[in-house]
């Protein structure tokens, strides 16, 4: 077979000669092989490529069970093998058994000859199988680095240890004092506890109202105008990495491609990495079965505990080529101009702004009660609370996706903590502690709101657990934190990250007291809580709830979701779900702190339209 693969593809009509030229130029620029570019940058679908090489007389072999020799593997670099979709496995009959997606890749064949002084014995295989095997066999060092990099370089910022010794001493001391107090004077201690809880609840909510009000002041502010986006010179745009960590999201792959194709950014300057776990054949097969060109590169994350999203992202970072980087979930629909807006904003901001956070919202908001409540919550969070934090210069706990980073600063920070289940929130605080700033951009990514209660509770329990982890990590040395982020940042961090789980934990207790007193008229409660305490508690609980309802109501205005306003009244019920999730999160924090409570996506029956920005 003398014909090269590029020629074959042109002859078969799967790519045009113009495409071939573009691919070759891009390949030369990027050090990626021809076939890697063709398959990962939207030129040809895997199905068509398979057809083409089978017609040319090649046989595609299943290779995942192939034997390998460590000595042979040691001589090849993961990035090089990955860039060429080829992998030498072992020596057999004086030949190097080599898996290749493009059996005519001269550069790799020459590399084999020069490295091993032997001729290659080429086994043609599916590129995804080669990628899978390459990362599995060569990715060990990279995955270890993904897991332990932060721990090795900045152990104080790692959540590997959930409770530090002084924290344990502190907690047990408090518990001991409490127990002693209850034994010695049950009534007084209960009253003090109750009043403290009640005031804490109220202060935390008033703080949130304050933040929302501050944030709402700038709701019409445009960080980047349409005019500025129109003036972007595409040739000057940098390479932009998009990480797409997925796990068992086979249903969403087609949607994902559609959403990525809608992004208004030069295709060759996009470096999209689909991060698939080694044991996730479901998603890998979904990618394999695509009958249209993909515009992402698959990275297989070798198995290593903890199996979390931040670990996958850290692994993906080793292969990222962009100046900037962002993360999307598989079901995300970003505004089409989001990347351009992020680049424009980075260019406008001072150097110390290393991250730009986009707003998140939901495309299936009217699906059911839960999605409506979730939409209200996200609207106030991203449209009011985060701008409030930003205005007051308080650390911003980043949202799960659509946070855009400067790559070099992200690496300098040690990237994400794989042991923290809200690695994004943690990173936001860590960046702030190192003197960096986070900005907000007027662009939205639409996600799928969880529409199933138990799925919702699982997801929320992870978030709340993550907040607890983040709080514990950064409060290992409160004085140092105070010095790093200043009093405003410190108080904001305590009220925003620390108080959030506590309010959810306290809420059902206060509600029980309220119901016990007002509805059931329980005598025992009356004995324990004198009139003035109950007066304060009831006042705080009611005012707290009303304020939280009000904050949620404010949320509908910016996005004109007026029809949702009355649903804010159901907030006390929604809070009970938060409380259930908080207790679940607390339990998991103690028994399995790194466990990633997986959220099932793709449950929505609402079709998501691409959010085209003109």
């Amino acid at each position: 077979m003398n014909i090269s693969i590029p020629e074959l593809l042109v002859n078969d009509g799967f790519i045009t000669p113009g495409d071939r030229e573009r691919i070759e130029k891009f390949s030369a620029r990027s050090d990626l092989s021809f076939i890697k570019v063709a398959l990962n940058f939207g030129y040809i679908s895997r199905k068509n490529y398979e057809r083409s090489i089978i017609n040319a007389g090649y046989k595609i072999n299943p290779v995942r069970e192939e034997a390998f020799d460590g000595e042979v593997l040691n001589k090849v670099e993961l990035s090089f093998a990955d860039a060429h979709l080829a992998l030498p496995l072992r020596i057999r009959k004086n030949k190097v058994v080599t898996l290749m997606a493009d059996p005519t890749d001269r550069l790799f064949i020459d590399y084999i000859r020069m490295t091993y002084n032997l001729e290659p014995e080429i086994i043609v295989a599916d590129d995804l199988d080669i990628t899978w095997l390459t990362h599995k066999l060569l990715g060990n060092d990279y995955v270890k680095s993904a897991v332990f990099e932060l721990l090795n370089h900045d152990p104080d910022s790692s959540a590997l240890i959930t409770f530090s010794t002084p924290q344990m001493v502190f907690f047990f001391l408090i518990l001991g004092l409490l127990a002693a107090g209850l034994v010695l004077n049950f009534k007084s201690v209960t009253i003090i506890l109750n009043v403290a809880m009640s005031f804490f609840f109220l202060i935390a909510i008033v703080f949130k109202l304050f933040l929302s009000l501050v944030g709402s002041r700038f709701e019409l502010h445009q960080a980047v105008s349409k005019e500025e986006v129109r003036n972007v010179v595409e040739d000057e745009l940098p390479v932009y990495t998009i990480l797409l960590p997925v796990y068992k999201e086979a249903k969403l792959i087609k949607k994902l491609i559609w959403n990525l194709q809608s992004l208004d950014y030069p295709r060759e300057k996009l470096d999209v990495k689909l991060l698939i776990e080694e044991d996730d054949d479901q998603t890998l097969n979904a990618v394999r079965d695509l009958d249209f060109p993909a515009i992402f590169e698959v990275i297989i994350v070798p198995y290593h505990m903890p199996q979390t999203k931040p670990k996958a992202c850290n692994y993906g970072l080793h292969f990222a080529r962009g100046k900037y980087l962002t993360i999307y979930d598989a079901e995300d629909i970003p505004d089409t101009d989001q990347l351009k807006k992020a680049v424009t904003l980075f260019n406008k901001l001072p150097e110390n702004f290393i991250c730009v956070q986009s707003a998140l919202n939901y495309f299936n908001r009217n699906e059911n009660f839960l999605t409506r409540m979730f939409t209200l919550e996200y609207s106030y969070w991203f449209d009011y609370m985060l701008p409030g934090l930003d205005t007051l210069d308080i650390p911003i706990p980043l949202g799960g996706t659509s946070n855009h980073f400067k790559m070099e600063n992200l690496l300098e920070l040690g990237a994400w903590d794989p042991f923290n289940v809200t690695e994004d929130a943690d990173l936001g605080v860590r960046a702030y502690a190192k003197g960096y700033k986070v900005a907000l951009v007027n662009s939205t990514t639409y996600e799928e709101a969880n529409n199933e209660p138990f799925n919702w509770i699982r997801q929320r329990s992870r978030w709340i657990k993550g907040y607890m982890q983040t709080y514990l990590v950064h409060m290992r040395n409160p004085v140092a934190l105070w010095k790093k982020i200043g009093w405003k940042g410190f108080l904001g961090f305590n009220f925003f990250v620390g108080a959030t789980p506590v309010t959810f934990l306290v809420y059902p207790i206060l509600l029980f007291i309220f119901l016990g007193y007002v509805v059931f008229n329980l005598a025992s409660i009356k004995t324990l809580f004198p009139d003035w305490v109950l007066f304060i508690c009831i006042f705080n609980l009611m005012v707290g709830n009303i304020l939280m309802i009000y904050v949620n109501m404010m949320a509908v205005f910016k996005r004109r979701f007026y029809e949702l306003i009355l649903f804010a009244i159901a907030n006390p019920i929604y809070w009970l779900m938060h409380s259930a999730a908080a207790y679940m999160g607390l339990y998991q924090l103690i028994v399995k702190p790194y466990y990633w409570e997986k959220t099932t996506h793709g449950l929505s029956k609402i079709n998501s339209a691409t959010n085209v920005i003109n």
Binding site: L213, I538, F539
Partner: protein, 518 residues
Amino acid sequence: MRNRRGLYLILITVFIAAYYLLLGIYLNKLGYYNQESLFFIEKSKVLLDGLGNRLKVMGLTTPILPFYGAFIFARINILLAPVIASAIGTALLFYIMATTLIKRTNDDFYLLLLIALFLLHPGLLYTACSGKSIYMVLIFFYLFFFNIIRFYSSNTTFHISLASICLVILVFCDYKFIWLTLFFIPLVLFISIQSLNLGEKETVFRLYQSFNSPALRRKLVNKTFAIYIILFILPLASVLIFKMLNLTHANDLDYFLDSPYATWAVLADRLSFEQATSFSHYQSSQISALVTASIAIYCPMIIVAIYFFRNSTYQILTIATPFAFVEFLQIKYDKIFLAHEYFLIFLILSLLCIIFRAYSHINQTGVKILLSIIVVFQLFTGYIFMKKSFIAEERDFVKILFNPSPVDQQSENLEIADYINSLPDNAQIMMDDAIAYPVIAFTNNTRRLTLPYQETFLSASEAPEHYVNYILTASERNPLTGYTQLNNKYVPAIKHSDNGLNLQKVYETDNWVIYKVL
């Protein structure tokens, strides 16, 4: 430059506060008091020194925020606390208004106008030096309208939410302002119609179009409803919560409105009206549609304000809302005279409009001459309206202000309080603070008093010999005698039911009698 102006403004505010304080204290020393400040003094005394469950006093005394405002200064001087609060509060009002002004214009003329009004206007002096809570009403009335008008231009949730929060505080300064919400209903609908993206300009046709298109109708209804909710849910919910607290702690949803133990206004307003209507020369000039006209005479600046906004329908409708509100109050509370506070809100509103628009008028000289004339005229009308007021406290204030000589307004209460103060330290005196709060305000040991908020009061009133040594009762001539249990009928009744009880009249004035329990 701006910083320097800001500094000057702080200095001017401090000067104004000092001026108010001096004047207020001077008038107070001359013997000027009013029912509201006496009520707050009494409640502050109970809170600071009283015995028993003071929770109800603390939580249910209304208007609650002005009470707390006065209470803050109770430790400094309990008798002067309301005056200190009102003096500082009015100076703060000046500062807020002046800050808004200097952010908009560098022309000091308008600032001078504002200073002149705050220094000389009898109504504002009454606000500052009387110890009443008008200052707080005016502050939050100003902030409410300021944010509403800002909302029209900014269209952000921030201003509408702040307006709502200010309305909540306003309602807790004077409950009657809850009715203001009624008159915003058509205004909000109008705002929603105007904000729809329609080609038609005329409001009626816009309304017609939006009601006849299902999509527009849905949008209009949703938006109108959303604005109502965001504006009114906080005040309405707060009132509901407060009523719930009244229910759980006083077994009456409207305790804070109807009980003389919770608010001074119940009896004071009734007494004021009864006294005024019993005069032969009484003319019901206030109970008529002429209130709006009176306001225009009292504060002609409001007409100028409307003129400034003549091309802004929202703003004109917004300015018109308080007129409807005051007219409504006249009808709803037909047995209560319209207090000067409800005239002053128009002065504040017109100043707000002047602050927003006057500096941008093309003919500045004309505007300045006109405003100067109006300000002088308003100083005069301010004096006349207070002098001719149906409310005695207002007449008394202006009288003592322009003719500073000692008044014996509270002499009888002081006389009784002096007698009580002279009683032995261990003597327990029972009295009913529903009407006797002016006496308690002047006593110097609240711990010796047995009052209705205390659990022992009921037992003491049924078997006084076991609980108290003295009883203060209202005499037959006391105009409020019908509003207390401890009146001239109490003594014969208790003697009848308790044969062993021996009471001796030890002190008597026109309105009060003190009995010693033997």
